[in-house]
């Protein structure tokens, strides 16, 4: 050992541990797998279920079809059977598996037959395997049965072997999730015996087809497929086991497969082949589709096929990418290099030989540029792939106007040619026509320009080539002229059309990018979930011309429509949204899940999980069927989800910040308060006990001093408690301003008289202009501001220095200034002083550092602001504004 590469990759181990954890929470899936109908899968499943029940497991039969076979029916006896859901469809009543009933019953183990079954329209999911996945998600163990021909990746092979196209398929990924995989094997001879005895029932197939199906050759081939498939699975399990236990070198090389999806009809087949190849190699694989400008002009049905092929690849477990590019081979190779792809799988070229020689083939280009990447070419061959989820599309009516214009242009060219005929040779007239063709090609595209080419040749022949006014040609040389003219016309048409398509493709891409850019830019510059959603809903609504709804989980995690949504959702639609949100998958209109909904719902999934769901209700049911549209909608949804999560994260960060801040404040409050309360208390206790214990021995003066200090310290305590209360009121938001119009002078007067003795020997210079307007204030609070500011001035300046109070008014506000002539504030601390628990270096007395913070709170509550500035002549000025908001009171009637 000792080779690093042979050790288990820690990341991979971690991923598997997570995988296992997820599995523990999920229900376990056991698949009874068979080569064909009639091998006894249902029987085996019921048998196994009975054993489980004997072991005391809570088993429920969710849905089992016994086709009236007696021995199977006998096994059902005694097992609890979930009543079937009856679905009305076109007058017929269909029996369906009742998913909701099963989820409500929540057994430990449930039996659901026929994994590949297609549910009746109107069911929640289009396919039964989707029901099973939901059961597993809910933590319920599931037993199910499936035949090899229903496996998505083998579907085409089976069709080829048996000639019977099976339309009900199960994605391989579903079977790969199975915890147990049991092959129910029956030799072909015995199976044929059973078939002859009428013991085999195949639904939905004509008798003829069934007879064709049950041929020995077919059965042998199917059996081999099933055995091989099982062997592959066992092999994969073995590899996992070996890897887990670091036994030997597990992955031969880090293979990575890329399959090129073309618009051709054989691409589905190609995807299946690639899947099988990837499985054999145990390699991850990517399905890539190159969107060249030309492909944007492909007919709708061809593009649908591409979409379906991509969906198929996704279901088969591929990573699906769409690459923009001018040339398919270049885009593929660049991507392959980027992602360390070791093998590229392409279909055999379908272009005719001459085209391949002239233009070259994609395969050739790939081989030429591939370097050390292997290119695997798989033979073509058509298949009529069953549509996975039929994409409905309107027939786009042909627009005849351009053809009219093409004819007009040719007529015009003919006119010009006729007029100039006397001056020019016939060869020059050809040029006039060619000009016309170029004009048509650049303006109207290929079809009209081809028409123009043919018409031009005809017109030239008819009008100018002798014999004139007949289509007959006298000179054979003219035939050559016509040919060249036609060719030039065709080539020009093609070139011009290509330019147009490229421009169109570029325009569409540009439009998509611009729309996305506009959205993300606006989202990036916005704060708050509500604002973000407003923007997202507006953009999505505009780009897709459809009303949008956003569903968000409320406090209890219950999904509700966001208030700014553009259409209302009823309980049913909300249920679809909830399903989308919980399963992180699109559902509703145009999807395989709950297609009956009136809107398409996409999950809003951010890195940390789903944040909600987005619903869009296009006016035209098929407006969103185009893959580009859907893809863009998904991108928009992703951007929105990211923005929402970012907003949530910002909120959380802020809350965390607030918590930290609160914690910090609590701590400094405790330390500050405990210090500031204890100091005066110590003085009071000390002084009082001195007087009590040795009162007689103290002289009158000392006793008076001690009593004086008791009173002063008590005052200080009172101020501190007052400040704490005030701060608490401010912060709790319980502060209610009761504003009235006051003369400021009166409030200043009240503050000065409250400070009374503490101001005793100070010179206080009050300058209030006599014409100062009344200000709308809560006088008690503003008085508190003034008291705190004056108190500060007293505390931090020498006892004889003067204090100045000044008020000035503008139209908008009154500014009040309280200035002292003390040492001023340290540089750069002019703002800090308003922070709670900030304390300067006091020259006398101490405080909790709350005074200025309270001032700030009160002034802000009045809509004003407060600031400090050192004065050039020394000292500091505290200024605050009180806005003159509101209607001033009626003027006071004068009296003589």
């Amino acid at each position: 050992m000792g080779v690093a590469g042979e050790r288990p990759d820690p990341d991979a181990l971690l991923a598997r541990v997570k995988d296992e954890e997820a599995r523990k929470r999920r229900g376990a899936l056991k698949v009874f797998f068979g080569a064909a109908a009639g091998v006894g899968k249902t029987y085996a499943m019921l048998d196994a279920a009975r054993e489980q029940r004997a072991d005391g497991v809570d088993v429920v039969v969710g849905y089992v079809e016994t086709h009236g076979r007696a021995e199977t029916d006998a096994l059902l006896a005694g097992l609890e059977i979930l009543p079937a859901r009856l679905a009305e469809y076109h007058g017929a009543t269909l029996r369906e598996f009742d998913l909701d009933g099963a989820l409500a019953r929540r057994p430990a183990l449930i039996l659901v037959d026929e994994l590949a079954h297609t549910n009746a329209p109107g069911s929640r999911h289009a396919k039964r395997w989707q029901d099973v996945l939901e059961l597993l998600d809910a933590g319920i163990n599931v037993y199910t049965t499936v035949n090899v021909q229903h496996l998505e990746s083998l579907n085409d092979v089976v069709a080829k072997i048996t000639g019977v196209v099976v339309r009900e398929t199960v994605p391989d990924s579903v079977l790969e999730q199975a915890d147990e995989f049991e092959l129910i094997d029956l030799p072909p001879d015995e199976l044929l015996e059973r078939f002859k005895d009428g013991k085999v029932y195949m639904p939905d197939q004509a008798q003829e087809a069934i007879r064709n199906f049950f041929r020995k050759g077919n059965l042998i081939a199917l059996r081999e497929l099933a055995l091989r498939r099982t062997a592959e699975r066992v092999d994969a399990q073995m590899r996992v086991y070996m890897h887990e236990h670091a036994i030997g070198k597990v992955w031969p090389t880090a293979e990575r497969l890329l399959v090129c999806i073309s618009p051709g009809p054989d691409s589905a087949r190609l995807v299946r082949a690639a899947k099988r190849m990837a499985d054999r190699l145990g390699a991850p694989w990517v399905a890539a589709y190159v969107e060249t400008p030309a492909q944007l002009r492909l007919p709708a049905n061809v593009r649908d096929r591409v979409t379906q092929t991509l969906r198929l690849a996704e279901q088969l477990g591929a990573e699906v990418v769409t690459l923009p590019g001018q040339k398919m081979s270049e885009a593929i190779l660049a991507f392959a290099r980027d992602r360390n792809v070791t093998k590229i799988v392409v279909g055999k070229p379908r272009r005719p030989l001459w085209k391949r020689i002239v233009i070259g083939s994609i395969v050739d280009a790939l081989v030429k540029g591939s370097g050390d990447i292997n290119i695997e070419v798989i033979s073509g061959g058509r298949e009529d792939a069953a549509p996975i989820a039929p994409v409905l599309r309107r027939a786009i009516p042909t627009d005849w106007a351009p053809y009219g214009w093409a004819t007009t242009v040719v007529a015009l060219a003919s006119g010009v040619a006729w007029l100039t005929l006397p001056f020019f040779e016939l060869a020059d007239l050809v040029m006039v026509y060619l000009l016309g063709i170029v004009v048509v090609a650049t303006r109207y595209g290929r079809g009209p320009s081809l028409v123009a080419s043919v018409l031009s040749v005809g017109a030239l022949d008819f009008l100018f080539v002798p014999p004139v006014f007949t289509f007959a040609v006298s000179d054979v040389r003219y035939v050559f002229t016509f040919l060249v003219m036609l060719l030039v016309g065709i080539v020009t048409s093609n070139l011009a059309a290509r330019i147009r398509m490229q421009a169109e493709a570029a325009r569409q891409r540009e439009q998509r990018t611009a729309a996305l850019y506009a959205l993300s830019r606006e989202l990036a510059s916005t704060r708050g979930v509500d604002e973000l959603l407003k923007i997202a809903v507006r953009h999505i609504g505009e780009v897709f011309r459809s009303p949008v709804v956003v569903l968000l989980p409320g406090d209890a995690g219950v999904l509700t429509a966001w208030s700014g949504s553009q259409f209302a959702v009823d309980a049913n639609e909300l249920g679809v949204g909830r399903w989308v949100y919980e399963h992180r998958q699109a559902a509703g209109l145009g999807t395989a899940t709950l297609p009956g909904a009136s809107a398409l719902y996409l999950p809003l999934v951010a890195p940390r999980g789903p944040v909600g769901a987005l619903g869009i209700r296009p006016a035209d049911r098929h407006a969103l069927d185009a893959p580009e549209q859907l893809h863009q909608l998904e991108t928009f949804a992703n951007q929105t989800a990211l923005a929402i999560e970012r907003a949530y994260l910002a909120d959380e960060a802020q809350q965390a910040q607030v918590r930290i801040e609160t914690e910090r404040l609590r701590n400094s409050l405790l330390s500050s308060v405990s210090h500031d309360l204890r100091t005066p208390l110590a003085t009071i206790t000390g002084a009082a006990s001195t007087i009590l214990e040795s009162g007689e021995r103290l002289d009158a003066r000392t006793r008076h001093e001690l009593l004086e200090s008791i009173r002063e310290e008590a005052d200080r305590l009172n101020r501190l408690v007052q400040n704490l209360l005030e701060m608490t009121r401010l912060e709790s938001g319980a502060l209610q301003l009761s504003k009235e119009w006051h003369p400021l002078e009166e409030v200043i007067g009240a503050a000065l008289s409250r400070l009374g003795k503490r101001l005793a020997d100070r010179r206080v210079d009050t300058r209030v202009p006599p014409d100062l307007p009344l200000v709308p204030i809560d006088d008690v609070l503003v008085e508190q501001v003034l008291v705190n500011l004056l108190d500060n001035a007293i505390k931090y300046t020498p006892s004889a220095s003067p204090i100045r109070i000044m008020a000035t008014a503008t139209d908008e506000a009154v500014t009040v200034e309280v200035a002292d002539r003390g040492p001023g504030l340290p540089r750069g601390e002019e703002d800090k002083v308003f922070e709670k628990f900030y304390r300067g270096q006091p020259t006398g007395g101490r405080g909790a550092g709350l005074g200025l913070a309270i001032c700030q709170g009160i002034v802000k509550a009045h809509g004003g602001h407060i600031w400090a500035q050192n004065l050039p002549e020394g000292g500091v000025a505290f200024l605050f504004t009180l806005p003159l908001a509101g209607k001033p009171p009626a003027s006071v009637p004068a009296d003589a």
């Binding site: 119009w741 409030v747 009240a750 006599p770």
Partner: protein
Amino acid sequence: MPDPVVVLIEDEPQIRRFLRATLTGQGYRLFEAATGADGVVEVGSRQPDVVIIDLGLPDTDGLDVIRHIREWTDVPIIVLSARGQERDKVTALDAGADDYVSKPFGAGELLARIRVALRHTAGASHEGDDAVFKVGGLRVDQLHRQVLVNEQEVHLTPIEYKLLTTLVHHAGKVVTHQQLLREVWGPSHTEQAHYARVYMAHLRHKLEAEPARPRYLLTEPGVGYRLAAE
């Protein structure tokens, strides 16, 4: 005149103890009650000259006690209340209290309020003696309709004069804005609180040496005004 009787309704024993020392030391006869119910009984049975009541009582709301007492007697009621509860003070005054002292208070402050209250009770019986009011350099002679500051006659407008005499009538006691508006401008003007403030400012400019640091016309923020009486 016998020693004035004071009924103290206060639940805090420490404050009762301190007031007992203060008031009995000043020659008042003190009766104490720790609850509102007891307080009402004391007021009914002791015929007090002054009632002191804490608004925060354990059993009943102090305001209810005041209203109850006012149902049968005009005895002066002085409220003890904390600073920052201006609204409560105004409510108490509206409910019939005569004055208030903010906790914490000095003994001097409370004694001054009691003296003012007693003087007003006494004054009510012989109105004529109050025709001339004097405090510091301010002299208001209602008989001759004359106002002097430091021996200088000051001319007042009719409303200013009425405002001043209203304050003189309640000298030493707090007068709420509502009360002033009602008594000076009449009951229809109680909404124009700024009238009183504007005229008070005029009055200060005429009577006070330093209008921003008034000596006589004091402001009780959030409650009203008080004309200094001593």
